[in-house]
């Protein structure tokens, strides 16, 4: 074992999260769900669009959370999987005339395969080295999408314009609202599946690897298999998010999926709380709305203001939204006692 690997295994960068603390209670979940269902009925189409993007980025953050919070592997390459998902959906819709809903599982499966294969060589790396390898993937992706060989399909540097679907069965709702509820259903499905995955045998294996690889393999966990599996699942979910993103934005172009996106998703995961799945939506809200707030404060210094806000969050609540939730829970418990 190399010295670097020892360092990584000695001090795990990802703190162990007990598996029950990974989800919300039933009551809170229902309140959040009710809010997500009712709010769109009361607001403008533009806000519905923002909420759709909120759910889509939340899915992508959730996928990274399974990888990092669940199995303890880092990735700065999520934008690449997101791009593959987005392009898969866009190409199938525009060139093959396929229904948008059918393109999503295909995008998920292709990204799962892509992530699983990428996980094979990545197995030999851990910690910062793995982060760098995925970083390379994210940097290469926009250029790969521009390649002349694929240009007939990808539209090259010009990208592809996607047609937004209408509500089916003549439902009296706008395209935006329909797409929102569609995204909501997909998101809830993936959220429930993810929670169950982490509670299952495989989930326990992920967490065992995260907490101590050697101990996990001594207990009979196939470390190689589960590490690549975590990569595959994470990539697959990111791919579905990418596909939904392409439909919502109605456009895919190589420049939309740069390393910036990967860093945003990573940021969202940290702000939401590493390893706490419901935090994904908080992290997603952070990466969508806080840049807007920063811009409102100062246009010329929006990047600096964003940096200050981010610093405050990391400084005051280093464990992100999870910490806030725990404090809130304790307060409520105290009030109940009194």
């Amino acid at each position: 074992m190399s010295a670097a690997e020892e360092v990584v295994t000695e001090a795990p960068a990802v703190e162990a999260v007990p598996k029950r603390a990974m989800t919300l209670g039933y009551g809170t979940s229902l309140v959040v769900l009710a809010a997500l269902v009712i709010i769109p009925l009361l607001v403008k189409n533009f806000i519905i669009f923002q909420m759709t993007m909120l759910l889509i980025y939340a899915l992508a953050v959730l996928a990274l959370n399974i990888l990092t919070g669940g199995s303890g592997q880092f990735s700065l390459g999520q934008s690449a999987f997101y791009a593959v998902g987005a392009y898969t959906s866009a190409i199938l819709m525009e060139h093959a005339g396929m229904n948008y809903a059918l393109t999503l599982p295909i995008a998920g499966i292709i990204c799962f395969g892509f992530g699983f294969l990428f996980g094979q060589p990545a197995l030999r790396l851990s910690g910062v080295y793995l982060a760098l390898a995925t970083f390379a993937l994210a940097t290469a992706m926009p250029q790969l999408l521009k390649l002349g060989y694929f240009e007939h399909w990808t539209g090259g540097v010009q990208g592809l314009v996607v047609t937004k679907p209408d509500a089916p069965f003549g439902l009296p709702m706008s395209q935006d609202m329909w797409l929102y509820y569609f995204t909501l259903v997909v998101s809830i499905g993936i959220y429930i599946a993810s929670v169950n995955l982490l509670r299952s045998r495989s989930g326990r294996a992920f967490m065992a690897i995260r907490d101590n690889e050697i101990a996990a393999s001594a207990m009979g966990v196939d470390v190689a298999l589960y590490k690549t599996l975590a990569f595959g699942v994470s990539a697959g979910i990111t791919g579905v998010a990418g596909g939904l993103g392409a439909i919502a934005v109605q456009f895919v172009a190589p420049d939309g999926y740069t390393i910036q996106l990967a860093i945003s998703l990573f940021l969202g995961m940290v702000v939401g709380g590493v390893g706490w799945l419901p935090g994904s939506i908080v992290g997603s809200a952070f990466i969508i709305f806080v840049p807007n707030i920063a811009e409102g404060i100062s246009k010329g210094l929006s990047g600096a203001v964003f940096g200050v806000l981010l610093f405050l969050v990391i400084f005051l609540v280093p464990h992100g939204a999870r910490q806030v939730a725990i404090v809130a829970q304790q307060l409520i418990a105290k009030l109940k006692k009194n």
Binding site: F46, K146, V161, E295
Partner: protein, 410 residues
């Protein structure tokens, strides 16, 4: 359903009758769409103030300065301009979000000067479906001139294709036997430039003996220049962004190789390309321009340049005046103000498009003498002319006539 329509037709007819009867008074009739009122015209804009292309943020700041000056001088036909400019960080998904915010939440009359080919492509379909003008987009792609399919979208910059078309025209005339090598950036800009050149040489494609592309992330392009030399061309053309333009010209000097050299207008700045490349190396380099270069001393006493400098001094004193983005923003906003002025009291979206499509040889102080804006119902490409120039001493010298690089169809 029938009655109200009939009623509306009757009102319209009545309106027409009144208009005919009162003559000029009819034009004083005030008509507004969302975003316009007796006191205000609300204009939306999206520019990358942050992110990888944040250098272009100056374009938005210069536009804001022009509108502020217009407001301080009393506004347009008594109405103040409310310029709402958002940041998209050069990301198409963010551009869609911001465009929807401008249209649905801020309720602007039109979008003006949105920057970036990808961002504009992302919002084009939405704006055309909503029938909101997407005027004078800040990108040189050729596709904005498509009034049949996108009647609410209009370009402004001379397209990259028309520019390289002009180089081809020039070479065919002046150097009929020359072999040409091209270095281009591997993105929409570089490819558009290349296409214009290839179209210009359509009669004799074998003239282009060498083609090399580079990625914007490459640290240096020296090796590409060396490779192009091996194809032994008489003319070398650089369709690059400023940093690479300077590198390429410098490399030619280091190799003591002196072919006829052409650089794209994008990399023709005296301050950011020619001086860093070395004034000696830059002698004789050819390019084309449509706007005045603020770093060029020949415009020092020019009235148009003085107006530009006054604006900068008063409204954005901390801007680097030689940054060509400031001039671009200034020129675009000047066109926008003119179009709104011509709209008079009929500030409907349809009328804005109509006025924008009826510019006839409109000249501006920031553009070269002889370069004018012309549009029509089937011509959504305001600037089509450029003038060739050659670098001599420490400045560009314009030569020849203003040439039109009009591209027919798409």
């Amino acid at each position: 359903m029938l009655m109200p329509i009939r009623h509306r037709i009757a009102t319209a007819l009545l309106g027409l009758a009144v208009a005919a009867a009162t003559g000029s008074a009819a034009s004083a009739q005030k008509k507004y769409d969302t975003g316009a009122s007796d006191t205000e015209i609300k204009i939306g804009n999206i520019v990358p103030y942050s992110g990888p292309a944040s250098a272009y943020g100056v374009v938005g700041k210069a536009m804001a300065a022009v509108f502020k000056k217009v407001n301080d001088d009393g506004g347009i036909n008594g109405r103040k301009i409310n310029f709402v400019s958002y940041d998209d960080a050069y990301s198409p998904p963010k551009a869609v979000e911001q465009a929807r915010k401008l249209v649905e939440s801020d309720e602007v009359l039109l979008l003006f000067g949105t920057l970036g080919t990808a961002s504009n492509t992302a919002i084009q379909k939405y704006l055309n479906a909503k029938k909101v003008p997407q005027l004078f987009v800040a990108t040189g792609a050729t596709k904005w001139n498509d009034p049949k399919n996108f009647p609410w979208t209009m370009g402004w910059l001379p397209s990259y294709q028309s520019e390289s078309h002009i180089y081809a025209k020039y070479l065919l005339k002046e150097k009929p036997a020359a072999k040409v090598a091209v270095l281009y950036q591997n993105d929409d800009m570089g490819k558009d430039y290349l296409k214009g050149l290839e179209d210009g040489f359509a009669s004799d494609p074998a003239r282009i003996v060498g083609k090399e592309s580079y990625e914007v992330a490459e640290p240096t392009i020296d090796s590409h220049v060396v490779r192009l030399k091996s194809s032994n061309p008489d003319v070398i053309i650089f369709f690059t962004t400023p940093k690479f333009g300077a590198q390429a010209i410098k490399k030619l000097g280091e190799m003591s190789w002196k072919p006829v050299t052409i650089v794209s207008n994008v990399s023709a700045s005296t301050a950011t390309v020619m001086r860093p490349a070395g004034i000696d190396n830059a002698q004789g380099v050819i390019s084309a321009a449509y706007a005045k270069d603020a770093s060029d001393p020949q415009w020092k006493d020019d009235s148009g340049m003085k107006a530009f400098d006054e604006l900068l001094a008063k409204y954005m004193p901390d801007t680097n005046r030689v940054d060509s983005s400031a001039m671009t923003g200034y020129n675009m906003a000047t066109t926008m103000v003119e179009v709104l002025r011509r709209c008079g009291d009929d500030l409907t979206r349809a009328n804005v498009m109509k006025q924008a499509a009826s510019l006839k040889q409109f000249a501006q102080g920031g553009l070269l003498p002889g370069v004018t804006l012309s549009t029509g119902p089937n011509d959504f490409q305001p600037i089509e002319q450029l003038q060739l120039m050659r670098f001599k001493g420490e400045r560009w010298q314009l030569f020849g006539d203003v040439i039109s690089g009009e591209i027919v169809g798409n």
